[in-house]
């Protein structure tokens, strides 16, 4: 069993969201990664959840007693990593 993450631990570093805020979102009705994301912004920052997603999943599993599949992940989105609008707009460097 994974270790319990204390409420004051920063889980999403990009958006500065703590484990306690994630638990509050779950109490409000979040059941999966995207539900937590919409209620807290965890996973919406520069890294797009690459760092915190596994921790958010762990908290969801522990709080709701559900398995990895039910917890889900965030929707994969273009671009894979930050890219300038110039590059996306077709500018040649």
């Amino acid at each position: 069993m994974a270790q319990y993450i204390d409420d004051d631990v920063l889980v999403c570093r990009c958006e500065e969201i703590t484990a306690g805020e994630i638990r509050a979102a779950i109490r409000m009705g979040a059941r999966d990664v995207t539900g937590v994301k919409r209620r807290t912004r965890a996973g919406m920052g520069l890294c797009q959840g690459r760092t915190c997603e596994a921790l958010v999943q762990q908290i969801l599993r522990q709080e709701l007693g559900i398995d990895t599949e039910q917890v889900g992940g965030s929707t994969p989105r273009t671009p894979q990593r930050p890219v300038t609008f110039g590059t996306l707009g077709g500018e040649v460097k």
């Binding site: 409000m28 919409r38 929707t75 671009p79 996306l88």
Partner: protein, 394 residues
């Protein structure tokens, strides 16, 4: 068995607003959604409530009344949805856009809405990062921004378990009617909800919910792609759009457009978010319910963004996302009872204005159900107008 005064189907911004306004009037309400709150169009959109993207007439009247309702809701709801009335700027790239745009501004002014023309100098004072070769534009103090998911949560949280029961992850399987064709219950995969009144707030899926009862609700999914920047220091103060946006939204606004932009129906629109990102849009296409973000569309949106805000060139995009908007042929939502099915109501088809018009929609639907005088004349939004439009000409 659970029984309710009203069952609302769809926990997007329209459904949550209807549910809130009904509980406020004292009704016992169930809110049902097959997924989570705000898990469809209402979380795949932008975040503005505007008057300057509405057509003069019924459309603008709805937009204006909704902003007035937003101002009250910001005080009335305990959960902060980050409402701010910052105004909005429209910019014109060509002389033709200036001509069509100024006619549009005059029409809005004639109806009493606060919109004014601004010259290129004033535009640059408002937005110093704007391209310097634009012809002019218009400004309205009334336009506002907010966080759309938080708005849905705010509507739900206010009365949750205090008049409002939330049935998320619950799929509606049918509407039970009695021998007089009147609503008796909403059937779901978790059991029946007994009620005499149901509102279909299914947005782009309102059509499918309607089909369960043999109703033809002609809402079509129209996809829009939006790009989101990294967090930045502010490069814009509020919503900025090109007038060409109106051309992509309404078929009756005619202006010459670059064929490449027309291909994906792309127009420049920019807004700052409460998380200090910049939202850059957008496109409008009929390509079904899929949420793919095609690279050609992303390319066209980025290019168009840089045309109006050259500073974007070196800023990073962190994600692209798409949502499907509930499109109606005549650009007016359905907010109506269904004459042939007593107790069945529809509030759907707001296209890209669902967030903008949610407050007034909830208010009007609650008034309609209570049999009260409505804030606005409901005739333009009646469901029966669509049947008349489809009727064969003899």
């Amino acid at each position: 068995m659970n029984s309710y005064d009203v069952v609302v189907i769809g926990a997007g911004v329209i459904g949550t607003s209807c549910a809130y306004h009904l509980v406020k009037k004292g009704y016992k309400v169930a809110l049902v959604d097959r997924g989570d709150i705000a898990s469809g169009t209402s979380s795949h959109c932008d975040a503005a409530a505007m008057i300057t993207d509405k057509m003069p007439g019924a459309d603008a009247a709805l937009g204006h009344a909704s902003i007035q309702r937003f101002i009250q809701l910001a005080k009335e709801l305990d959960y902060d949805f980050n409402f701010e009335q910052r105004g909005s700027l429209y910019v014109c790239e060509t002389d033709m856009e200036m001509e069509v745009g100024s006619g549009y501004v005059k029409a809005l002014q004639a109806e009493g809405y606060p919109v004014k023309m601004v010259d290129p100098y004033e535009m640059l004072q408002i937005e110093p990062f704007l391209a310097k070769d634009l012809k002019g534009g218009f400004w309205s103090d009334e336009c506002s921004q907010l966080n759309p998911f938080k708005l849905c949560f705010a509507f739900v949280e206010q009365f949750k378990n205090k008049g409002l029961d939330v049935y998320t992850y619950t799929t509606v399987t049918g509407i039970k009617l009695n021998e007089k064709n009147a609503v008796e219950a909403v059937q779901t995969d978790k059991g029946d909800l007994v009620t005499k009144r149901v509102i279909n707030c299914g947005g782009v899926w309102a059509k499918h919910i309607g089909e369960l009862s043999g109703l033809d609700i002609p809402v079509l999914p129209r996809k829009g792609v939006i790009l989101l920047s990294e967090t930045t220091s502010p490069i814009c103060g509020q919503k900025v759009q090109e007038f060409g946006y109106m051309v992509t939204k309404f078929a009756n606004v005619e202006c010459d457009r670059d064929p490449e932009l027309l291909k994906y129906n792309v127009a420049f629109t920019l807004e700052p978010t409460e998380g200090d990102n910049i939202m850059l849009g957008s496109s409008r296409n009929f390509v079904g319910y899929g949420l793919n973000t095609e690279i050609e569309v992303i390319n066209a949106i980025a290019k168009r963004g840089i045309r109006f805000f050259p500073v974007l060139k070196n800023m990073s995009c962190i994600r692209a996302y798409a949502g499907v908007r509930p499109f109606m042929e005549d650009h007016l939502p359905i907010m109506s009872e269904v004459d042939e099915m007593p107790g069945y109501y529809i509030a759907a088809g707001h296209e890209g204005d669902g967030i903008s018009m949610a407050p007034i929609t909830g208010e009007l639907m609650s008034q309609l159900i209570a049999g009260e005088k409505t804030t606005l004349e409901m005739e333009p939004f009646r469901f029966s107008r669509l049947k008349q439009a489809q009727a064969p000409v003899i």
